[in-house]
């Protein structure tokens, strides 16, 4: 099943404004999920002990990030007057399955596992409103050169985060 969510936006927004709003929302959902909050801004249920151990984190360190594929694949699926739809590409069965497992709390089972629903795909109306208020503001243009420079810097910084621990 394709996992997506339709978000109503003012019909006065043009296509460019809807696209920019979608980027803001996607970035927000990624950030909020990494911080372990769901679409209602509530804390997501903790991981079970075995999974947390496998992932090398504490049970409370919920971030919906294993490979990073899930959150980084959220995309704008449709934009039309009065609404935008964000979610996962229809043809990616694996990602949709992963997303469905989290959103419904099924994780491969036929029915939801009680207390394990991590519904990350959506946005609280109050937060959405704050993004709407910025829609008319001028946006910076993010060029390929900006992206490459940011990536170059990040890639080098990562190497400060690799430690060979000889245990001594």
């Amino acid at each position: 099943m394709q996992m997506k969510t339709k978000i109503n936006v003012p019909s006065s927004l043009n296509a460019t404004q809807r696209r920019e709003l979608a980027i803001d929302i996607i970035l927000y959902i990624q950030e909020r999920s990494i911080e372990g909050r769901d679409k209602h801004e509530d804390k997501m249920p903790k991981y079970n002990k075995d999974y947390a151990e496998l992932k090398g984190v504490g049970v409370n360190d919920v971030d919906l990030t294993d490979s990073g594929d899930l959150l980084s694949s959220i995309t704008l699926l449709d934009s039309s007057t009065g609404s935008i739809t964000i979610g996962f590409p229809k043809d990616d069965i694996e990602l949709n399955g992963k997303a469905e497992g989290n959103i419904k709390g099924t994780y491969g089972q036929s029915s939801p596992i009680k207390g394990k629903q991590r519904d990350f795909l959506g946005i609280d109306p109050t937060v959405l409103e704050s993004f709407m208020n910025n829609v008319d503001n001028e946006r910076p243009e993010i060029t390929n050169a900006d992206i490459e420079a940011a990536a170059r810097q990040s890639a080098r910084e990562i190497f400060g985060d690799i430690e060979f621990d000889d245990g001594e």
């Binding site: 090398g56 990536a151 990040s154 890639a155 990562i158 985060d161 000889d166």
Partner: protein, 163 residues
């Protein structure tokens, strides 16, 4: 206004980078142990080839050659006897860092077939004290990983902004 736009640009890029960096860390936690293992099996150390084995070591390895891993031979200097040491290299992402270790489990057995008394990390230390330095990344490996990280991060950021 220009400053405000620049600040917005930086914030948007930082947000997109956060996911990308997590992805790189996860991938590298798998890749780095494999990289160190592959280079060492080919006989590479941190600054060139690993030192040659001493004749007494070769004699000993010849004696127990049936216990040798298929990745080595009696005279091959690649820190591989039973293969336990290199297979004991592991990495974990902890608090936004990759920590690479050699596990401290007692070895199952030694090349002679005797029950192992040392841990894999003790064997690493012993090897390094003898000049077999392998447990880190070489300059070339670092550069390759930086290039790969850059590529992954660019792809990930572009995914968001090409929405």
């Amino acid at each position: 206004m220009a400053n405000e736009l620049l600040a917005k640009k930086v914030i948007s890029l930082k947000l997109a980078q956060r996911i990308a960096v997590r992805r790189v860390l996860k991938e590298f936690a798998v890749l780095i142990p494999e990289l160190v293992k592959a280079r060492t099996i080919l006989g590479g150390g941190l600054t060139g080839s690993l030192p040659n084995l001493k004749p007494s070591t070769i004699r000993n390895r010849t004696r127990y050659s049936t216990n040798l891993s298929s990745d080595t031979s009696p005279s091959e200097s690649n820190l591989t006897g039973t293969g336990q040491l290199l297979n004991a290299i592991q990495a974990k992402v902890t608090e936004g860092k990759i920590v690479v270790t050699v596990n401290t489990k007692k070895r199952k057995n030694e090349l002679s077939g005797a029950k192992g008394k040392l841990t894999n990390n003790e064997v690493r230390k012993y090897a390094e004290d003898a000049g077999f330095n392998f447990f880190d990344l070489t300059t070339d490996e670092r550069q390759e990983l930086i290039d790969l990280a850059e590529k992954i991060i660019i792809d990930e950021i572009k995914k968001v902004f090409s929405t």
